[in-house]
């Protein structure tokens, strides 16, 4: 099973990198660019073939290491291998 994990900054947490990217897009001539937020994307291959237990494992991984819960949220999708 493959977990596709997205880590994003919580609402209200300033994201200077996202802002710089937004400014750069504007400088390149892209119009209508609103708020830009930068996050992380992580893929993890798991031996587990049970969706429920794999989901619990990925949650624990996110909370213990992959995300810093003070400033980040996580979401993930599981895909059968």
């Amino acid at each position: 099973m493959k977990a596709r994990i997205k880590i994003t900054l919580k609402e209200g947490v300033l994201d200077p990198q996202g802002k710089a990217i937004g400014n750069a897009l504007g400088a390149l001539g892209f119009e209508g660019v609103g708020n830009v937020r930068q996050g992380k994307y992580i893929e993890v291959d798991l031996d587990d073939t049970d969706r429920a237990s794999a989901g619990k494992t990925v949650e624990a991984m996110c909370e213990q290491l992959l995300a810093n819960m003070v400033i980040e949220n996580y979401s993930f999708e599981l895909e059968d291998a």
Partner: protein, 229 residues
Amino acid sequence: MKASVIVFPGSNCDRDVAVSLEAAMGKKPAMVWHGDADVPQSDLIVLPGGFSYGDYLRSGAMAAHSPIMRDVVAKAKKGTPVLGICNGFHLLTETGLLPGVLMRNASLKFICKDVLLKVERVDTDFTRGYSEGQVITIPVAHHDGNYFTDDDTLNRLEGENRIAFRYCDKAGATGGDANPNGSQRNIAGLYNETGTVLGLMPHPERLADPALGGTDGMPMFASLVEALH
């Protein structure tokens, strides 16, 4: 006094802080590898600056789970003083010994320069050699020093008198350009509830010898030796 400096792959201020400790203590601290399970009996544990594990994932995130950190956290919770400098401060927040997180600098630039700090407390083992409200010069060298936490936590930290140092100007004021990295409430360093764990972004070991151009970092090491000898 016995001190231990924890060495991670990517630490680069471990030897500098060992020199400052030796100058203050009169003997060398133990250098303890991150893969070890136990810290030798110590009166002080130092988590040095650097780029542990190449700052992979987040600064300090990987090192916070290295084998030695289990024992560091256990000893800190039992009252052993812990000093975390720069990447050591990252580690203290990642392990939950200190609240909040150090985000990318607001300017997005790596900042390497001397800054002015106001000493907020002089009743701890780390700062008894300073005077209250003293403004000191200490260098910073970081990309991720922008202290962030929620407003409730900030108010609690202020209420519990846990802010150790704030970025300030010559007069000790915190407005205007005094804040180099965007840290909330100009926080440069923090204590835990008992005042025995200190994390700070500036590097006292980098101005702790006249040959380095300044000595404002020396009283921190002298304070620790006086308190813990």
